[in-house]
C-alpha cells in the first residue's frame, strides 16, 4: 500500500555521546569572525531567480544540537526544525529544497553525508534564519557554531548575482548562559547586539557612477535588517526606526529619511540627501533597538543589461544594547 520507502534514519541525532558541555572560554561578541552560540543569517532568499545555500559547521569536538528558525519577512511567522552536528561536522542545504534524512544518499550528492535532520523546503521565501545551540530543546551555549550564506543566481543566464556573507555569530556572555527559552542578549547570558551600523557604499544617483563599469552603469546597495528583539513564540513583530546620517567625500553631513519597519526589512540605501552625491559615501544607521545587518550591492552594466552582486557584513558602531530572543516552547 505504501510506496516502499527506504527511509533510513540517521542515528546521529544521538549517535555520539553528548559529553558534558563546558562552555569554552571565549570572549563575548556579536560579529562575523568567531564561532558563536546563536547564528543569524539576516538575508535568506528563495525565488525564481535566486536560491540560498546555508552552510553551518560545528567547530567543536562534541555533538552540537541546534534549533533553527525560518523567519518569514512578510508574515513574521516562524517555523523551526532541529539539527544535530557531530564533532567538527559541516553541513549544508539549499533553502528551496530543504534536506531529508536518508543515510543512503548517493556518494557526492547534495544529501551525502550524515544528514543533520529534516529541514523543510521554502519555495518562495524572503526572510532570515536563526539557529541556537541547545541540549534537548534547552538553550545551552557551547559557542561552536560557524556559518555562511551563499545567495546564488539560478537563472543560468549572464547575470552573476551570487554573493556570500558570514552569519552573525553571538557568543554567550560572561555569565553562565540560560536554561529557559528566553535568551537575554545583555552581555551576561549572551553578547549584546549593536544599535549603530556604518555602511560604506557607492551612491546610486550620480552619472557614470560605478568607478569600474563607467558610464552605462548603476549600483544599488540593498540593506537587510533584522531586530535582535525576536519573539518566535507569539509572532510578535518588533518595530524599529532607523535614523540615517550620510557623509559624502567632501565630508558634508546630511540626514537621510528615517526607515521604520517591523519584523524584518530589506531596502535600498536612499542617497537623495547627499549634497552633492560623490562616487563614494558612507551612511551611519542608528536604530531604536539593537539590530543585525547585512549589505548586498548590485552592480549593473546597463549597456549589456547584466548585473553582478556582492554581499558583505556591516561594521558596527560600538553602541551595544540589550535585547532578547524568545524561542517557542516545545511539547
Amino acid at each position: 500500500m505504501r510506496a516502499k520507502r527506504i527511509a533510513l534514519t540517521t542515528a546521529l541525532l544521538g549517535a555520539f555521546a553528548v559529553c558534558t558541555l563546558a562552555a569554552s572560554v571565549a570572549s563575548a561578541g556579536v560579529d562575523h569572525d568567531r564561532p558563536g552560540s546563536i547564528l543569524i543569517f539576516p538575508k535568506v532568499v528563495s525565488s525564481a531567480t535566486r536560491d540560498t545555500t546555508i552552510r553551518i559547521s560545528n567547530t567543536g569536538n562534541m555533538t552540537n544540537q541546534v534549533r533553527c528558525f525560518y523567519l518569514d519577512g512578510d508574515t513574521c511567522g516562524t517555523i523551526d526544525f532541529d539539527l544535530s552536528l557531530t564533532k567538527q561536522q559541516p553541513t549544508q542545504w539549499d533553502v528551496s529544497n530543504g534536506r531529508t534524512v536518508n543515510l543512503l544518499d548517493s556518494f557526492g550528492s547534495s544529501g551525502a553525508g550524515l544528514d543533520p535532520g529534516l529541514i523543510p523546503a521554502q519555495g518562495d521565501f524572503e526572510g532570515s534564519v536563526v539557529c541556537v545551540e541547545v541540549v534537548d530543546d534547552v538553550p545551552v551555549a557551547q559557542n561552536k557554531l560557524k556559518g555562511e550564506a551563499i545567495i546564488r543566481d539560478v537563472t543560468g543566464g549572464d547575470d552573476r548575482n551570487t554573493s556570500a556573507y558570514n552569519a552573525v555569530a553571538i557568543t554567550s556572555g560572561t555569565g553562565s548562559g540560560t536554561s529557559d527559552n528566553e535568551l537575554v542578549l545583555d552581555g551576561d547570558e549572551y553578547a549584546q547586539c549593536d544599535t549603530v551600523h556604518r555602511v560604506d557604499f557607492i551612491p546610486d544617483d550620480s552619472p557614470g557612477l560605478d568607478p569600474v563599469l563607467g558610464e552605462t552603469s548603476s549600483v544599488v546597495t540593498n540593506v537587510t535588517v533584522l531586530p535582535c528583539d525576536l519573539d518566535f513564540s507569539r509572532r510578535a513583530p518588533t518595530s524599529v526606526v532607523l535614523n540615517a546620517t550620510l557623509w559624502n567625500e567632501f565630508e558634508v553631513q546630511t540626514s537621510g529619511p528615517d526607515t521604520s519597519f517591523s519584523c524584518w526589512a530589506s531596502f535600498s540605501i536612499d542617497p537623495a540627501s547627499l549634497n552633492p552625491a560623490t562616487t563614494f559615501a558612507t551612511v551611519e544607521y542608528s536604530a531604536s533597538s539593537p539590530v543585525v545587518m547585512v549589505v548586498e550591492s548590485f552592480h549593473s552594466d546597463t549597456g549589456l543589461g547584466v548585473s553582478g552582486s556582492a554581499a558583505r557584513n556591516v561594521h558596527t558602531g560600538g553602541a551595544a544594547s540589550t535585547s532578547s530572543i524568545t524561542l517557542s516552547a516545545t511539547p
Binding site: 570572549s27 536560491d51 557526492g108 560557524k146 558570514n166 560604506d200 569600474v212 552592480h299 547584466v306
Partner: protein, 388 residues
C-alpha cells in the same frame, strides 16, 4: 616564495582573515571585520584593468576607506606587491614589469616566474567622518577637506595586499592608539557579457589603548608590547594594557564546498584561499614564511589533513592543495577546514585571510573564515620616511 594567481573561472572571495584575542578574559579589542580599528588589512587586491594576457576578462579592485571619528585622522598605507615576475624580464604581454602568473606567461629559455615582495607606501588625511574610495589601477587625489595622493598600483598586472595604519601625522607617521578606520574592497571581473562582483570588509586589528596617544616607535606589536630595545615581546593583557594591538588568532576555520561539488542547479564549486601572515617587515622588505597545517572534515565527519607553505600573501586554489579537497574523494558537498601555522622562522604565526568561492555559471562570492584562540606575538615594522 610561491605566488599563485588563479586563472580559472574567477573566484568568489571569502575573507579569511579574522583572528581574535580570545582565551584571555573578555578582551575589548580584537581582530575583526565589523568594527573600526587602528590598523586595517585588505588581504586580496587584484588589478588587470587592461587584460594584458588577453584572457577576455578585465579585473579591478575598488578600495573604500572611511574615517569613523569626529576628528581628522592621518593614515599611512603600504601596497605590498606579490606579483610574480619573469626571470628573463620578458613576458608574453611585453609589459614593462614582465609580470607572470605561472611560467607560461614568461618568454625565453629557462625562464622562471619568481614571486616578488615589494612595498609602496603613501600617506593621506581623512577629515571627520570622511569616506573615500579609489580604483587601485587609477589611484586618487583625496578631495578636500581631506588631503594626500594615492598612487596607482605599480604594475599593469597586480596581485597583493594593502595595509593601512592610523598614524600621528604625515611627517612622522608613527602609529597612534586609536581605532577609527573602516574599509571595504570590491573586486570586479568584467567580461564581454558578464559583470561579476565580490566585496569584503577589510580586517581590522584594534589598538588596545584608545586615547589617541602616539606609540613610541614604528614597530607594531600585535599581541605583545615593546621591550626596552623597541622589540615586541609576549604580553599578558591583564597587566596594565601596555599591549599595543590585538593578537592574531591561533588558527582559522573555513567553511567551503569541496572542489568540483555540484551545488544547487549544477553549479560546480571552486574555492581559493588567500593567506596573509600578520607579521610583515616592510622595513627590510623581507617576506614572512609560514608552514600551514590544514585539517579537513567532510559531512561524514571523516578527517584528512595536509600542509602547505606560504612566503607572504598568497592565494591558492583548494584543488592545488591536494586531492583531500576534491568532492570525488570526500563524497559530500560541504567541508570544514582548520588552518594552523605550525612552523615559523622566529616571526609571529598569526594569519589573516579571505575565502573566494566560484560557482560555475552562478558567480563569485567572498566570506570570512572564523578565528579561534590567540596566536603569539606578530610584528609589523616599517620605516618612514624612507631614506632615499
Amino acid at each position: 616564495m610561491r605566488t599563485q594567481i588563479l586563472r580559472t573561472a574567477a573566484i568568489a572571495g571569502l575573507a579569511l582573515g579574522v583572528g581574535f584575542a580570545t582565551g584571555a578574559p573578555a578582551s575589548a579589542q580584537s581582530v575583526t571585520t565589523d568594527e573600526a580599528a587602528g590598523y586595517v588589512v585588505f588581504p586580496r587586491i587584484v588589478s588587470d584593468a587592461n587584460d594584458i594576457f588577453s584572457t577576455g576578462t578585465e579585473i579591478d579592485t575598488v578600495i573604500q576607506l572611511t574615517n569613523t571619528a569626529a576628528d581628522p585622522i592621518t593614515v599611512h598605507c603600504f601596497y605590498i606587491n606579490a606579483t610574480g615576475t619573469c626571470s628573463t624580464g620578458t613576458n608574453t604581454a611585453g609589459s614593462p614589469a614582465a609580470e607572470c602568473l605561472t611560467v607560461e606567461e614568461c618568454v625565453g629559455e629557462g625562464a622562471t616566474c619568481d614571486p616578488q615582495w615589494s612595498a609602496a607606501d603613501f600617506t593621506i588625511v581623512l577629515s571627520p567622518q570622511q569616506p573615500t574610495g579609489w580604483v587601485v589601477d587609477e589611484g586618487l587625489s583625496v578631495p578636500a577637506p581631506g588631503d594626500g595622493a594615492i598612487p596607482p598600483v605599480n604594475t599593469d598586472y597586480f596581485v597583493g595586499e594593502l595595509r593601512c595604519v592610523q598614524v600621528n601625522d604625515d611627517a612622522d607617521a608613527t602609529p597612534v592608539n586609536s581605532n577609527d578606520l573602516q574599509g571595504e574592497a570590491t573586486i570586479y571581473e568584467v567580461s564581454g557579457s558578464t559583470v561579476d562582483v565580490r566585496s569584503y570588509s577589510a580586517t581590522g586589528v584594534q589598538a588596545v589603548l584608545e586615547d589617541g596617544s602616539t606609540q613610541n616607535n614604528k614597530v607594531m606589536c600585535l599581541g605583545g608590547r615593546d621591550d626596552a630595545g623597541g622589540d615586541c615581546v609576549e604580553d599578558d593583557l591583564g597587566d596594565g594594557d601596555d599591549r599595543e594591538y590585538a593578537a592574531c588568532p591561533a588558527k582559522l576555520v573555513v567553511g567551503h564546498f569541496f572542489e568540483g561539488a555540484f551545488v544547487g542547479n549544477n553549479n560546480s564549486a571552486a574555492t581559493a584561499l588567500t593567506l596573509s601572515p600578520c607579521t610583515a617587515d616592510v622595513a627590510t622588505v623581507e617576506p614572512t614564511g609560514l608552514v600551514v597545517q590544514f585539517l579537513v572534515f567532510n559531512e561524514f565527519e571523516q578527517r584528512m589533513s595536509g600542509a602547505t607553505e606560504i612566503d607572504c600573501v598568497e592565494t591558492v586554489g583548494l584543488s592545488e592543495l591536494g586531492l583531500v579537497f576534491s568532492a570525488n574523494v570526500q563524497g559530500t558537498l560541504a567541508g570544514q577546514t582548520h588552518l594552523r601555522p605550525v612552523d615559523s622562522t622566529g616571526a609571529g604565526r598569526g594569519m589573516i585571510g579571505l575565502v573566494e568561492e566560484a560557482l560555475g555559471g552562478a558567480g563569485l562570492s567572498v566570506s570570512h573564515p572564523n578565528g579561534i584562540g590567540e596566536g603569539g606575538v606578530d610584528v609589523v615594522e616599517y620605516v618612514f620616511p624612507l631614506t632615499p
